[in-house]
């Protein structure tokens, strides 16, 4: 029978469509079927801890390091990054449009007590948002600060409905931009950098995992070919991810 590789990843990665671009060639080359389980970052990591996935592709650096530290994963590699953006209503009641600093923008939003929608789900995006609040020395609370506990897309919808601000990843924002009134107000701050890593599950810990094909996927996705595919992948007329294993200058 054909080899099966279970890849647990985040919904935003799956929703971007990037994997549909990369995986078919990989599957053909290595004669393996990749089963993609798209869940929250936390859940993806817990599936891997339980040995229910062979490899994970996630974006939550601290949690990834803890995962490797605990011995569940080995050979983590950077794959790519995209960036977060701050969205808000067109009339911009907090007046953050065009600001360079995400931290300063959040401060203004907090001070004006404008609606802010947080994912509140321990996802990579949520963790990033919390670290920004911390840098701004604001403990967000009050009725203006709403936690949805839902995925990115659903949270953007809530923000749109409640005419509030939200921290979102660029890919999901682009996917939703046709259906919402929210506008991109702040972007480009280096703090909004969003790196993705790939980690095979440690075959010493879970002896049954398909470590060979997992490493093959790591190798493939960080190869010249894989990285170029990421670089070339566009949707809504924009590049969604920037390769980070090999920088574009080094493509042959």
């Amino acid at each position: 029978a054909q080899d099966r590789l279970i890849l647990a990843t985040t919904t935003s990665t799956e929703n971007s469509g990037l994997l549909d671009e990369i995986l078919p060639t990989f599957e053909e080359k290595f004669d393996v079927r990749v089963d993609v389980i798209a869940v929250g970052t936390g859940r993806a990591i817990s599936l891997a801890e339980n040995g229910d996935a062979d490899i994970i592709l996630v974006h939550a650096r601290a949690a990834e390091d803890a995962f490797v530290e605990a011995g569940y994963g080995v050979n983590r590699r950077d794959v790519m990054y995209n960036d977060f953006v701050i969205l808000g209503p067109a009339d911009d009641p907090a007046g953050v449009k065009g600001m360079e600093s995400a931290v300063a923008a959040l401060e203004k939003i907090a001070n004006s007590e404008s609606n802010f929608i947080s994912r509140g789900d321990d996802s990579g995006t949520h963790k990033k948002e919390l670290s920004l609040w911390e840098k701004a020395s604001v403990k967000p609370s009050g009725s203006w600060y709403m936690e949805t506990g839902q995925g990115m897309g659903a949270s953007i919808n809530v923000a749109n409905e409640k005419e509030g601000y939200i921290l979102a990843d660029r890919g999901t924002f682009l996917a939703y931009s046709g259906d919402i009134d929210l506008e991109l107000l702040v972007s480009g701050d280096p703090l909004l950098f969003n790196p993705y890593g790939i980690i095979p599950v440690n075959p010493a810990y879970h002896t049954h995992v398909n470590y060979q094909k997992a490493m093959a996927l790591v190798g493939y996705i960080t190869s010249q070919e894989g990285q170029q595919m990421i670089y070339n992948y566009t949707k809504y007329g924009e590049r969604l991810f920037n390769p980070s294993a090999i920088t574009p200058e080094n493509f042959n």
Partner: protein
């Protein structure tokens, strides 16, 4: 990683700790389910009785549609109601999205077919002589209806309880139309989905146990209040 044992411990700590957040989601869930079941019963009981009793031309097709709607997925109801009550929808001005009212509308749509179909079945199984007897005893239209309700009470209670269970345990509609907003529209099930997404399976299961405990207590109440001895006798 024995989530089941972990879940029982977590549930226990949550309950004895009088966790405020827990209290919130439990009360939200209860208020929503009871309200939705109440309104769905008001629609479904007469509808079920009507379909069960009356011989109208398109009855067969109505029955098939009713059976079809038993499989109504929460996501379908969610999207459908969403497109009506979102700000761009025709009911947008009432601002029902991400509020109680939004969830309740969705849940009513979800269980009206269920309650109606189950009550129709209960009515079918009654003895025909019941109706003639009610007439001959001099019952008015309303009294006929009351007597019918009384005779079919086990079936009706069963239908309402099934509907209640369905909304108490559903997550799709609460999530889509309520938005799972902490402290506002977060219910036991949406909180559970959230915890599960975070990978905190034990905690999620603990919430599930609390939900079942709740349903259990409510069912004991229903039993002892309404049926009590009679049920036992059967």
């Amino acid at each position: 990683m024995n989530y089941i044992i972990e879940a029982f411990q977590e549930a226990w700590y949550l309950i004895i700790g009088f966790d405020r957040e827990l209290f919130n989601v439990v009360s939200t869930s209860l208020r929503l389910s009871i309200t939705s079941t109440f309104f769905a019963s008001i629609i479904g009981i007469p509808a079920g009785i009507f379909i069960g009793r009356t011989n109208f031309g398109r009855k067969k097709i109505v029955n098939i549609i009713l059976n079809t709607l038993l499989g109504l997925p929460t996501v379908v109801v969610g999207i459908f109601v969403y497109s009506l009550i979102s700000r761009r929808g025709i009911l947008g001005e009432y601002e029902m999205l991400f509020s109680f009212r939004g969830i309740i509308i969705g849940q009513i749509i979800l269980i009206v077919p269920l309650i109606t179909a189950l009550i129709r079945n209960a009515i079918y199984s009654l003895d025909e002589k019941l109706y003639k007897t009610a007439l001959s005893l001099g019952a008015t239209k309303i009294q006929q209806f009351k007597l019918l309700l009384l005779e079919a009470r086990y079936g009706i209670m069963g239908a309402v309880i099934t509907g209640f269970g369905r909304v108490l345990g559903e997550v799709g509609i609460s999530m889509m139309l309520g938005g799972n907003i902490k402290g506002v529209t977060r219910t036991i099930t949406t909180a559970m989905a959230l915890e599960t997404n975070k990978g905190r399976f034990g905690f999620g299961l603990a919430l599930g146990l609390i939900l079942l405990l709740l349903a259990f207590i409510i069912n004991i109440g229903v039993y002892s209040l309404q049926e009590g001895k009679e049920y036992e006798q059967r």
